[in-house]
């Protein structure tokens, strides 16, 4: 064990492929510390999403071990996994994965609904506004429907949601895949600023626009 916030040791993972199985990850190890921005890169199908899902406690590791903030994910119950994710991890997916036809506020406050003790309505509204400010969307109306936003705005709303619990670790899976150049650069700036402020940022991408600001790059495949 190290002082790393996120520690993965010798992870291997295989998926069925017709009659056989296909090895996607083979002995992958990683240490991620506070304030670090690390990029996992590689072409499509090399297992980036699979790796991030394992590290975020969304997919049980078939082989190898994962620790998040000193807690092992290997033998955690689904309930414990949910708690660990809630406490330490923010997740930003490729296309943002917003709840469609719902308001900006409803989307951003989602992770707060799973915290106990409950976060009150006014406190949630306050945090939503603060999170919107952090991602540079301070002038967006929280009650606006997310379907009416641009791709870049949507991805930043998703980032605001991933940050709403001020997680120690932010995991982002191809966060710029659906963005144009300006929006991608803006998102990269936000992620870099987050890392500089002490968040451990782990992202998967094959987009140089977001890999460039990383402190460290890990090739896959």
């Amino acid at each position: 064990m190290t002082s790393a916030l996120l520690h993965a040791d010798n992870l291997s993972h295989a998926f069925p492929d017709g009659e056989n199985t296909r090895l996607i990850l083979d002995g992958f190890s990683l240490d991620l510390s506070a304030g670090e921005m690390v990029g996992v890169h590689g072409p499509s199908g090399t297992g980036k999403t699979t790796l991030l899902r394992i590290l975020a406690g969304l997919l049980p590791p078939q082989e190898g071990t994962v620790w998040v903030a000193g807690e092992s994910l290997n033998y955690a119950t689904p309930r414990a996994l949910a708690r660990i994710r809630t406490a330490h991890i923010g997740f930003l997916a490729q296309s943002g994965d917003l709840l469609r036809s719902e308001s900006v506020a409803a989307n951003i406050e989602l992770p707060l609904l799973f915290i106990r003790p409950r976060v009150g309505q006014s406190e949630r509204a306050r945090r939503v506004r603060a999170a919107l400010g952090t991602v540079g969307l301070g002038d967006l109306r929280p009650e606006q429907n997310v379907d009416t936003l641009s791709g870049g705005q949507r991805q930043r709303v998703a980032l605001a949601r991933a940050l709403i619990r001020a997680p120690a670790i932010l995991i982002a899976d191809e966060p710029t895949a659906a963005l144009d150049a300006a929006a991608a650069t803006l998102l990269a700036t936000h992620l870099r600023a987050l890392a500089d402020a002490g968040t451990a940022v782990l992202l998967a991408s094959h987009d140089p626009r977001i890999l460039t600001p990383c402190d460290r790059l890990i090739p896959l495949g």
Partner: protein
């Protein structure tokens, strides 16, 4: 619990679909009811499974024993039957209200069957002589009618029989209108089924996506499963209840109220339960697979 408000939200987002389900179910119930009115209503009572399964004594009828062999039940066409008894107090009211024993009234002023009947047709008679009661509950009525018939020396006699023994050749199933009715009913049911299935499919995709997103942001799988089943229960029961109620209303307005078995409410309840299990179990499996995609271990 925020899961309570979340259930509300899930349900609201699915409301349009639920309303559609209710409308389709109600429409189908109405069609089936009108279909049943044509077939079951005039068909051989003994051949109707819901009636043969009646507990003993549940349904009864007055059988006309006509010395002129003009047994009303053997008439092919509706015809005027002077002299047949009319067992009701006021026109337009339903027979089963009058022949239940407690309320088996006969016009007190009339002394013979002729006076009871004045222009009744076999069709009306067939409609009127049934009641949802035991045969002996009709005993008083029968005695009064037979006394009246005796006094008028018509030779006609009446007896109360369980509905199982009643044979009604006013059988109309197999006629063009019934075939049309049946075809229409089946077509609408199939179309309705397709629409409901398509709606359910979209709803499932929508819900799975939503659950996956919530899971990514900290929702516990157990709570998501619970929510799914709750919304499903809410989604099945009200439309079913609405459809069933609509069916009952149509039946109540129909010429011939088919006899319903005792505890008939048990059937929609069992149907709802079966439907829930049929949808709920694969749905729960699907949620598990969405939240925890697994390779071989």
């Amino acid at each position: 619990m925020s899961s309570r408000t979340r259930v509300g939200r899930d349900f609201r987002s699915a409301t349009g679909w639920f309303v559609l389900c209710a409308v389709i179910l109600a429409g189908q119930a109405a069609l089936v009811a009108s279909f049943a009115t044509f077939t079951v209503g005039y068909a051989d009572a003994a051949a109707s499974p819901s009636e043969t399964e009646l507990p003993a004594g549940q349904g009864s009828a007055v059988r006309v024993i006509d010395p002129q062999a003009r047994n009303v039940q053997d008439l092919e066409e509706p015809a005027l039957l002077p002299g047949a008894p009319v067992l009701f107090g006021a026109l337009g009211e339903r027979a089963d209200l009058f022949l239940t024993g407690e309320d088996g009234r006969i016009d007190p002023g009339a002394t013979t069957a002729e006076e009871f009947t004045a222009g009744m047709r076999a069709e009306d008679l067939a409609r009127l002589i049934r009641c949802l009661c035991a045969p002996d509950a009709l005993e008083d009525v029968i005695v009064s009618i037979n006394a009246a018939e005796d006094a008028a020396e018509t030779g006609r006699r009446y007896e109360a029989v369980p509905v199982k023994e009643l044979i009604s050749p006013l059988e109309r199933s197999g006629t063009l209108i019934d075939r049309l009715n049946l075809t229409l009913g089946i077509t609408v049911s199939l179309l309705g089924g397709v629409v409901v299935a398509a709606g359910a499919h979209r709803l499932r995709a929508h819900t799975l996506r939503r659950f996956l997103i919530e899971h990514l942001h900290g929702a516990r799988p157990g709570m998501l499963h619970l929510r799914a089943q709750l919304v499903l229960a809410l989604g099945i029961t009200p439309p079913l209840l609405l459809g069933f109620t609509a069916g009952r209303i149509v039946y109540a307005g129909a010429d011939w109220p088919p006899l319903l078995p005792a505890h008939y409410l048990l059937f929609p309840a069992l149907f709802a339960l079966a439907l829930h299990l049929l949808i709920g179990i694969p749905f729960a499996r699907r949620i598990s697979r969405t939240l925890h995609p697994k390779g071989p271990s």
